[in-house]
């Protein structure tokens, strides 16, 4: 039997402290809506950040705190790392106020990605459904899927919902994606009379998605209620629940599976998520009443 007491000691040396943020400079700032801002960040040391669409970074507003923000960049974009932040508390408020030249701390990238590099999304139709700011974590995946080399010519459908027209984000990206061959459908819950677009729930647009359910995968991101109703609507249309992925959110503090806050049943979302297949356990967890 090996000397197990020393098994603790025989570990490889530990590298830089993963709890210490790396300083990045804000190089660009874009106000998307009155409470959503996209920051473009570059590392002070000039290192190229590594991420896969779907992952998130822990961003530190020095002196205020840290928050988990999804990366909204596509890997086809050279240069700064984009994070789209919604002002919902003191840390995100501070991040939304950050100006070019300000320093923001970055730790990450953490979590499971949407899987655009995997076989499952390499071919076939993909239906992407985004609710509100849920379009931000999906932005990179959508861009990369539209430009994937799929010999079968699988299409990308993007269904985006927002509360009202002023809350729609990435309007120019949606247009670009449409021009690049994706099928784009946008809807709002309410609108002023000069809106000529669709008004209704995102699920009401799914009927117009002309995909072959048996070979279609789906990526969904938005409020939990929207994600589960959308997933169910897609399953009713014949999609395989294992090919439907959702992005789950819980309180994130360390990003490393050590602080225990992001637990969702058997998952530590910073490590086993945020992207998870809708089948089985996740479907049940999304409906379970935690009162």
């Amino acid at each position: 039997m090996p000397a197990e007491a020393s098994a603790v000691r025989d570990r490889p040396p530990i590298g830089p402290d993963p709890l210490e943020p790396v300083p990045y400079r804000v190089v660009d700032r874009r106000r998307e809506t009155d409470d959503v801002t996209t920051l473009s960040l570059e590392s002070l040391a000039g290192t190229v950040p590594v991420f896969v669409p779907g992952q998130f970074n822990m961003l530190t507003a020095y002196g205020v705190g840290e928050a988990a923000i999804s990366v909204s960049s596509s890997r086809r974009e050279v240069g700064a790392l984009r994070h789209t932040v919604r002002d919902v508390g003191p840390v995100t408020a501070a991040l939304c106020r950050a100006r070019p030249g300000d320093v923001v701390g970055v730790r990450g990238a953490f979590g499971t990605p949407w899987g655009v590099d995997g076989d499952d999304l390499a071919t076939g139709d993909v239906v992407v459904v985004a609710g509100g700011i849920g379009l931000a974590p999906l932005r990179g995946a959508i861009d990369e899927l539209i430009h994937r080399a799929d010999p079968d010519g699988g299409r990308v459908f993007v269904v985006a919902g927002a509360r009202e027209p002023a809350q729609i984000i990435f309007g120019d990206d949606l247009e670009d994606w449409g021009r690049a061959g994706a099928v784009i459908a946008v809807t709002v819950d309410t609108a002023p009379s000069n809106w000529a677009g669709h008004i209704g729930l995102v699920t009401s647009l799914l009927g117009g998605v002309d995909c072959d359910p048996a070979t279609t995968a789906s990526l969904i991101c938005g409020p939990e209620i929207m994600m589960r109703f959308t997933a169910r609507a897609l399953i009713d249309r014949g999609l395989d629940p294992r090919r439907i992925r959702v992005s789950m959110e819980r309180n994130m503090q360390c990003g490393l599976g050590w602080c225990g806050h992001c637990q969702l049943g058997p998952f530590l979302l910073c490590r086993d998520g945020p992207v998870l297949p809708y089948a089985g356990e996740v479907a049940r967890l999304m409906t379970e009443r935690e009162r």
């Binding site: 000397a3 530990i14 300083p23 020095y62 819980r250 050590w258 806050h261 009162r291």
Partner: protein
């Protein structure tokens, strides 16, 4: 002296062993009697250990009794656990300038190595569980590792479990089988007060070499077996662990959770005394100079804001928080870390102010397929005619 060998020492040998550790530069700590309980403290000689003391524990109850003999380990566990040594209740992680230049990396590095004299087997198991959580992920926690990696551990096997112990159900005691440098078993007998010592590492062998010791005779090995057998027999609480994860998952809507919530204060004592609980909060502070400091402090899933999302806490009711704690400890911990989260030390039972007994609750929750609170409603006798539809007053 090598790994796996055994020897026998007496009380004087134990004193010299401890002195040797001190001389080798270790900060030696072990169980001491303090504030009416067994608490971690400095051990310079065996006289600092809890001599002549027994503990009487039950749900919501802990008392130390003086029995006046010179035996050192006839007690089970106190409220403090060794996790505080490696994962302190509050710890500075780093300091930086307002523009993110790290000014200090936190006091985790360069600390004096720790030697634990007299950990319990369940505590060893707890340390192994925390190692899995904090060292075995994609990256290791350097703050935890700083003190843990070089720690010398001498375990004292159990001869006198408390009524709250259930290590036998969790496979963590009363014997110690691994994860120690040296293991002591306090023997009884007419040949004097002696300790059987087993070597668990090369470092332990080296330490033992340096103190007077005798070759262990078969009668002493038999005496150890008797001590452990008697301890196992004395354990009265159990958890039926076979298929437990699934049975708890099936009990998600069990009415028992609400019943527990009527008693549970959500005070979090159980998470404070638990040797495997690892939840922590991270907070940033700044001062007038602009220097930023990040700290990590113990947190509890019983805190209302533990599950806080921007809309508010996810788990608002006490029942959902108790359910989170128990199902994490005994079920989803397996999914997350491939080990059980509970080591059967019984601290949560003793230190719950209202005496909630985890073992009894698990038994109640998994006794049947109880699902309740959902329709189709209790049948009633049909009344003879249409009733008023005012909805008020009629029982």
């Amino acid at each position: 002296m090598r790994f796996g060998s055994t020897a026998t020492i007496d009380r004087r040998g134990l004193d010299l062993l401890i002195a040797g550790l001190v001389e080798a530069g270790f900060e030696t700590k072990g169980p001491t009697v303090r504030d009416g309980a067994i608490m971690p403290g400095t051990i310079l000689t065996s006289a600092d250990l809890p001599a002549g003391v027994r503990d009487a524990q039950g749900p919501g109850r802990y008392r130390l009794e003086q029995v006046g003999n010179d035996r050192l380990f006839d007690w089970a566990v106190g409220p403090g656990s060794w996790k505080a040594e490696f994962f302190p209740p509050s710890q500075e992680l780093w300091r930086s300038t307002p523009t993110g230049e790290i000014a200090s990396h936190g006091p985790g590095t360069g600390t004096t190595p720790l030697a634990i004299v007299g950990a319990r087997p369940c505590e060893l198991a707890a340390m192994a569980v925390l190692d899995r959580v904090l060292l075995d992920g994609a990256v290791s926690d350097p703050h935890y590792a700083a003190r843990r990696v070089d720690a010398f551990v001498m375990v004292a096997e159990c001869g006198a479990p408390a009524s709250t112990c259930f290590c036998t159900s969790m496979g963590t005691g009363p014997s110690a089988d691994s994860h120690f440098d040296l293991a002591l078993t306090e023997l009884d007998g007419d040949t004097g007060h002696r300790f059987l010592v087993r070597v668990g590492s090369d470092r332990g062998a080296a330490v033992l070499e340096g103190v007077p010791h005798a070759e262990t005779v078969p009668a002493e090995l038999a005496a150890r077996d008797r001590v452990l057998a008697a301890a196992s027999d004395a354990i009265i609480r159990t958890i039926h662990t076979e298929g437990l994860a699934r049975r708890l998952a099936d009990a998600v809507d069990h009415p028992r959770w609400e019943e527990i919530a009527e008693r549970c204060l959500a005070c979090g004592n159980c998470t404070l005394v638990c040797p495997t609980c690892f939840c922590s909060d991270v907070s940033d502070t700044t001062d007038l100079t602009g220097e930023v400091r990040r700290d990590r402090t113990w947190a509890s899933c019983f805190d209302l804001d533990h599950s806080y999302l921007h809309g508010g806490p996810v788990r608002t009711s006490v029942s959902s928080r108790y359910r989170q704690w128990l199902t994490h400890k005994l079920s989803t911990w397996w999914d997350q870390f491939d080990t059980p989260g509970c080591v059967g030390c019984g601290r949560c039972v003793a230190w719950c102010p209202v005496g909630i007994d985890l073992t009894a609750e698990v038994a109640a929750l998994t006794a049947d397929d109880g699902r309740a609170g959902i329709g189709p409603g209790r049948p009633t006798d049909a009344e003879s005619g249409p009733e008023s539809t005012s909805g008020e007053g009629t029982p």
